[in-house]
């Protein structure tokens, strides 16, 4: 399941994947994998991303049960 909320939050900050990756201490490919839905980050990384983008966990990573299916 693609994470479009993360992508739009990042775009709202005018941040590239590389910039966000540098801020949170991961590779660009990891951010790409999270946005594409290919990787589920740990809670630590989720929090790090949320703090960088000034959003809550719900705003970036919450999925409704119907979305998950």
């Amino acid at each position: 399941m693609k994470n479009l909320k993360l992508k739009s939050a990042r775009a709202a900050f005018d941040m590239s994947q590389q910039q966000l990756a540098d801020e949170v201490g991961v590779t660009r490919q990891t951010i790409n994998a999270i946005e594409k839905g290919d990787y589920n980050p740990t809670i630590r990384l989720c929090l790090s991303i949320c703090h960088t983008l000034g959003k809550t966990l719900d705003e970036l990573f919450w999925e409704e049960p119907s979305e998950k299916e």
Partner: protein
């Protein structure tokens, strides 16, 4: 060079390499928390673990097949056959890691790996191709060099394809 001195040279090289690796390990353990932190992120660590798991499984399978085939044909390659299996499984781990972006850490560009691989490729083919072409060659390790060269070539090809793919991804992402 006699066959005995050939094997003694290989043994000496492996001993020096092992001692070198042990020294590095001791230094890193001694430095403890001051040691350079692991630069691989969580996703990369997961993928590396998976890659090594598959490589280990392939090594076990290879050794099983190798022993059966050697018994059936009566041609025993000894340590050279095992070495080839190690090269194959290492290549599998490396290729999987490169393809899934888990081989290079954040600070690495992969240039040093590419350069060292090209150097190894030249050495492998320099030692390996004459062994393939000379039917009287009795040193089994020489042929292993040829196969190692082929695997090196495959790794270089994967690095090239991946770099091209990454560059395109970056360009698309920046649009």
């Amino acid at each position: 060079m006699s066959q005995r001195s050939y094997y003694m040279c290989i043994l000496a090289f492996l001993s020096v390499l092992t001692i070198f690796l042990i020294i590095i390990a001791i230094v890193r353990i001694k430095n403890g928390k001051n040691a350079e932190p692991n630069e691989f992120d969580e996703r990369q660590k997961l993928i590396r673990g998976e890659s090594f798991k598959y490589a280990y499984a392939i090594l076990i399978l290879y050794l099983l097949f190798n022993s059966v085939i050697e018994d059936l044909t009566g041609k025993y390659r000894g340590a050279a056959g095992i070495l080839l299996g190690i090269f194959v499984s290492l290549a599998v781990a490396i290729i999987l890691c490169i393809w899934k972006d888990a081989f290079f850490n954040r600070d690495s560009t992969g240039k040093s790996l590419t350069v060292s691989n090209i150097f190894l490729l030249i050495l492998d083919f320099y030692w390996g191709i004459p062994a393939i072409l000379d039917p009287k060659n009795t040193y089994p390790y020489s042929i292993v060099f040829f196969y190692a060269g082929v695997l090196n070539l495959l790794i270089l090809a994967i690095i090239a394809v991946k770099s091209f793919k990454d560059r395109r991804e970056k360009d698309v992402e920046s649009l």
